[in-house]
């Protein structure tokens, strides 16, 4: 049959001068890079929709229980929040530099940038742990021995009361809704932290591979796409910070 000759012909043609990292079903490396990048953007779109459900819940309950949300947000320390914002933005910068180094095939620069990103990411999680621990100590974990003491009687919580002396005690039925705030706080920052942990794990893998010279041969798709992911996680935090920490500041 004519098919068999065509196969032989096609096979011969298909394997001329491909870079080793080009998958066989792509015509050109540019097509492969394009397709993978596009897929990453689509994946980030699904992530937006995923977080979108939580943001919707947040907006509804914040509208309904505004006083409770304000009072509960005063329990968060703006210092830690700002520090974390700074850490993340810096890590986005080092990540972007990493992609740049990979494109220019600077191996040591890439490894350095990835390590810095890794450390900054861990720093973020460290700060988050300090914050979570404080909530635990004050019985602000929803569902587990939750206490509204700080909200029905602000004076019982001198640390926060000194910072926000104008906060009035909340009536019991409003104070109970602070639990919703803390649930959303933990769900949103927890989901964000989970993305950070996944990102840091991938970073560790990438550091090892980068030292072996994997991303500095012209095939930067993986670094590039991971960069997109990292920036996305960063941007989620940029939304979370004002929504959770800065409710009463406008």
């Amino acid at each position: 049959m004519s098919d068999s000759t065509a196969i032989a012909h096609g096979a011969a043609e298909a394997h001329h001068e491909h870079p080793p990292y080009q998958r066989h079903h792509f015509e050109t490396y540019a097509q492969q890079n394009d397709a993978t990048n596009f897929a990453m953007w689509l994946f980030l779109l699904t992530e937006i929709m995923f977080f979108g459900g939580l943001f919707t819940a947040y907006l509804i309950f914040r509208n309904w229980y505004y006083p409770a949300f304000v009072a509960a947000s005063h329990q968060l320390d703006i210092f830690w929040g700002s520090l974390n914002t700074l850490l993340l933005i810096t890590s986005s910068f080092t990540m972007a530099m990493g992609v740049w180094c990979a494109e220019l095939r600077k191996k040591s620069g890439l490894v350095l940038c990835l390590i810095l990103t890794f450390i900054l990411g861990l720093g973020f999680l460290g700060v988050k742990t300090i914050e979570y621990r404080e909530k635990w100590e004050k019985h602000h974990i929803p569902g587990l021995h939750y206490s509204v003491q700080s909200f029905v009687n602000p004076a019982s919580d001198p640390e926060v009361h000194d910072k926000y002396p104008k906060d009035q005690p909340l009536a019991m039925d409003m104070a109970r809704h602070t639990e919703l705030y803390f649930f959303l706080y933990f769900a949103m920052t927890g989901m964000h932290a989970l993305h950070m942990i996944i990102g840091i794990a991938i970073l560790a893998f990438m550091i090892a591979r980068a030292q072996a010279g994997a991303y500095t041969t012209g095939h930067v798709t993986f670094v590039e796409n991971f960069g997109l992911y990292w920036h996305f996680v960063d941007i989620v935090w940029i939304f979370l910070f004002p929504l959770l920490y800065l409710i009463s500041r406008h």
Binding site: I7, M49, A187
Partner: protein, 556 residues
């Protein structure tokens, strides 16, 4: 259905042979299947798995109909009945209907239709099958260990506060299955954007591809919202976080908003790929370009867009505001328009076409009739006034079974028969499969038409017992279900038979125009011996004739 009128052109059976090398025999052994990146093999894996789940879900449906044969709850206890219909819904929706056409026929043919060697992300494609299997096994495990009785909708506060069945594991299964569906959709979008052959412009794509593109948008944007809704249900159940709990200030309706934000578009995820199949089949068996190609292409996208803005019509009686009811009712009417555009355009395609009645076409006719009834009764339900009377009755059960079973399942079977020769290289036996198509149609109407009447008489859904005056119609429905069961068993038998004994199909038994029909059946692993160049419009039957003349000339 006379013997003479057929367009089937098979090679001379005394000399014809299957191609020596194809995707089926390029590599051998179980591992070569389980670790494959080939979209065609993954499609076959999916085909086997979804058929399995279809028969699990179908057996549960059989149990439901048997229970409803008599007014009392006698075959099973009422709470067992609740579990049976819940698992029927969950398995049919998440493990059959959502992946049915896209993961099998779509997976197999989208790359071939656009002239590509594979989907853009073969490993993600394989991952999606493994996720599907993991989810499926988890769902079966749940079923074996006691099941869930919330209905497939997991409605709060029932699912979070009142039932003590396996909500968490079932929810997890649906969550994982959702990611399998996201990856399929994502892969299709990237492939359709980035992998088209030279000359394959957007408006030369077969309408099958357009329909899948629209369905993929829904998968990618809708499914993550279902995922977060399920996570919240799980947290509400385990930790008691309060988002869906009114005693803590939460709102159970929020769950329904999130759930239906996915699950309404999900019905379009289920039906759009089926509509894609019908476009191909109607065109091929009436030898005409699909009438109003552009309108049909855009109507798919319009369904995807409108589909996102009608979810609250599932909640008309749930206490949403009257203004919301008004607006969502209006938007629901709007989404009927693009579906009607498709039906009309297919009808115009038939007009003055050279129609033949092979099995895929019979199923396609079944689809057009049943989907139209299903769609129009949907307009009854979208009208707020009638919805208050009809919702939560058998009318709604009949409505969505007309769309899902009468529509989607007919389309799936139509597509399966249509592309079977390409997938396996062999023809299915025509006569018995025509019989199966007719039996399915008759059985279907017997099963579900009485349920419209039951619904208008006021029989509520989801109860194991009912007043005795409804029995006659229920007996009709159960009798119909047994006919329907035969209609579904037949294809399994003769399609399996045809794998070994079917006639050799040759490249293009239907004289169809798609790129997938211009190569050998079953295809090579890399689909095309060399990258095809698309130099004609879709459904150009004159181009096909010229091609065949050229071939005859060169052989002569």
């Amino acid at each position: 259905m006379s013997d003479e009128v057929t367009l089937v052109k098979l090679p001379d059976q005394s000399t014809a042979k299957l191609p020596k090398v194809s995707y089926l025999n390029k590599e051998n052994g179980l591992l070569s299947w389980l670790l494959t990146g080939d979209h065609k093999r993954i499609a076959m894996l999916y085909l086997i798995s979804i058929s399995f789940f279809f028969f699990v879900g179908g057996s549960l449906a059989g149990l439901i109909r048997l229970e409803l044969l008599t007014p009392q709850s006698d075959l099973m206890a009422t709470d067992t009945y609740n579990k049976v219909f819940s698992m029927h819904g969950i398995i049919m929706v998440f493990f059959f209907l959502v992946p049915s056409v896209p993961a099998t026929i779509g997976n197999f043919f989208i790359p071939m239709m656009i002239g590509a060697k594979d989907l853009a992300l073969p490993k993600i494609n394989l991952l999606s099958w493994y996720l599907y299997m993991a989810a499926g096994i988890l769902a079966l495990y749940t079923m074996a260990s006691g099941g869930v009785d919330t209905g497939w909708t997991f409605t709060t506060p029932l699912s979070t506060h009142y039932v003590n069945t396996h909500v968490l594991t079932t929810g997890m299964a649906v969550f994982i299955a959702g990611f399998s569906s996201i990856f399929t959709g994502l892969n299709f979008i990237v492939t359709i954007h980035k992998m088209r052959a030279p000359g394959m412009t957007w408006f030369r794509l077969p309408l099958f591809v357009w329909a899948h593109y629209a369905a993929s948008i829904l998968m990618v944007l809708g499914t993550p919202v279902l995922a977060i809704a399920i996570v919240l249900v799980a947290l509400e159940r385990t930790v008691g976080i309060g988002v869906f709990d009114p005693t803590k200030g939460g709102d159970p309706l929020l769950f329904q908003h999130l759930f239906w934000f996915y699950s309404h578009p999900a019905v379009y995820i289920m039906i759009l790929p089926g509509m894609g199949v019908i476009s191909e089949v109607i065109s091929t068996f009436s030898r005409k370009r699909v009438f109003g190609y552009t309108a049909v292409a855009f109507s798919s996208v319009a369904i995807a867009v409108f589909g996102f803005f009608v979810w609250a019509h599932h909640m008309f009686i749930m206490g949403i505001s009257n203004y919301a009811v008004l607006i969502f009712s209006l938007l629901t009417m709007l989404v009927a328009v693009p579906s009607a555009i498709k039906i009309f355009n297919w009808t115009f395609t038939l007009y003055k076409g050279s129609i033949t009645f092979e099995t895929p076409m019979l199923y396609a006719f079944g689809f057009m009739g049943l989907f139209t009834i299903g769609g129009l009764t949907g307009v009854f339900l979208g009208t707020a006034g009638t919805d208050i009377h009809l919702t939560e009755t058998y009318f709604i059960v009949a409505h969505f079974h007309f769309v899902m079973v009468g529509g989607m399942l007919m389309a799936f079977l139509s597509g399966l028969h249509f592309w079977w020769p390409k997938m396996t290289g062999r023809m299915y036996p025509e006569k018995i499969s025509q019989l199966a198509a007719v039996v399915t149609f008759i059985g279907f109407n017997f099963t579900f038409f009485p349920q419209f009447i039951l619904g208008t008489l006021g029989m509520p859904r989801r109860y194991a017992s009912y007043p005795p005056e409804f029995q006659i119609l229920n007996v009709f429905s159960t009798a119909g279900a047994s006919i329907l069961g035969v209609g579904y068993l037949l294809p399994v038998l003769y399609l399996t038979w045809s794998l070994k004994y079917g006639e050799i199909a040759g490249n293009n038994p239907w004289q169809a125009t798609g790129l997938e029909w211009q190569v050998q059946s079953p295809p090579l692993t890399e689909n095309f011996p060399e990258t095809p160049i698309m130099d004609h419009e879709a459904y150009d039957y004159e181009w096909l004739e010229r091609q065949q003349e050229k071939e005859v000339a060169s052989v002569g």
